[in-house]
Symmetry: C2
Subunit: 218 residues, 2 copies
């Protein structure tokens, strides 16, 4: 499952891995429709949506990334949409739910042909300048035949998140992250991609809050 | 891993399994603080919070259920809080994020002693009378030594959801559910509990939307 002895052309591509996101943005204000539409337009104008495929349904938006640095482009898009919604909501309270997935490119079924798994470059983006708090969960989806256990992957990811600027503390079923919005998202995305070097199918969920009147980040 | 030849006192209790939920409620209206506080009070007055332990942080509320029928009491609480927020928001748009977990009672680590896994009774609650749409994902967290594969559990759960009144359709990384709010939550909870008869640690996530101006459910 490691890539150390594998040549580049044997590695799964982002398209084969199905690297993508589901994103929903929830402004806590009466004019939420205008806020959301304006935030999506802001991200389009800035170029953050370039090269991403987006499909919106009544609950969330599916965002697929192909080509180079898909992890970084997904994080940039989520951070820009959420920061723009916060700004358009009068620096108000906005929550986003983010699901990042890799290794299950199909819809209801997983048809990934097992290939060598690629290493992802860590996300490297400027700070958003918006303080955030997040509830973060990570799910390495092992199958019979894998000799590792799923909690060892999760614990290694949490340890790595502690060594970054983003403070993290354990909670039931999740880890709390606090810091700059982009760094919070990057922490989760880098951990998800790191597990993805060893486990083909891995999903991570974040509930990200900015501008909360009760939170320490507001 | 089955309970067929196991006596009741060998089965893991809800407390040993750590059956619980993280819940966040997002009213899309300016007076969201009053709406949320009022909805929580409504659920307390109705008795839906009886016997549940709740701890709120800046992102979400942890809800632990012990005793009889924990799955049903978690679904009732989430449905009542969300329905009350919708009503208090002028029948407006409210989204909740729900994480249901079993089999990992610790915080950062999983210290479940493997015991026979109990069968849960299906959730049986009256309809909420509120139409909902949800994005639903299910994660059976297998370890090395388990001979099954994680997608077979997910596919069986999706098949079961199709046989209920709740319409379901596949989407990338999730299944879309539509129907009465309580039935949508019960569909996910019953599938999660059913996988929990075979896989000790299983988590499910729902993003549940009511009153969306763009959704078919509004």
């Amino acid at each position: 499952m490691t890539t150390t002895t594998t040549t580049a052309d044997q590695r799964a591509t982002p398209e084969q891995l199905g690297i993508g996101m589901r994103l929903s943005v929830h402004p806590h204000c009466d004019d939420f429709v205008d806020v959301i539409l304006g935030a999506l337009e802001d991200a389009r104008v800035s170029g953050a949506a370039d090269g991403l495929e987006t499909v919106t349904d009544e609950v969330s938006t599916y965002v697929a990334a192909s080509g180079d640095a898909p992890e970084q482009r997904l994080v940039r898009y989520a951070a820009e949409v959420l920061a723009a919604a916060h700004r358009r909501c009068g620096d108000g309270h906005v929550v986003a739910h983010v699901l990042l997935s890799r290794g299950c490119p199909g819809e209801a079924t997983c048809d990934l042909t097992v290939r060598a798994l690629p290493a992802a470059e860590p996300v490297d983006l400027p700070a958003a300048g918006v303080a955030a708090a997040a509830q973060w969960s990570l799910y390495p989806l092992l199958d019979g035949g894998d000799t590792s256990d799923h909690m060892s992957h999760i614990e290694a990811a949490i340890d790595a998140s502690r060594s970054r600027g983003v403070a993290s503390e354990p909670a039931h079923y999740a880890t709390l992250l606090r810091g700059d919005l982009t760094e919070v998202l990057a922490t989760a995305a880098d951990a998800w991609a790191a597990v993805g070097r060893e486990v083909p199918h891995v999903v991570t969920h974040l509930t990200v809050s900015v501008g909360s009147p009760t939170g320490a980040q507001s």
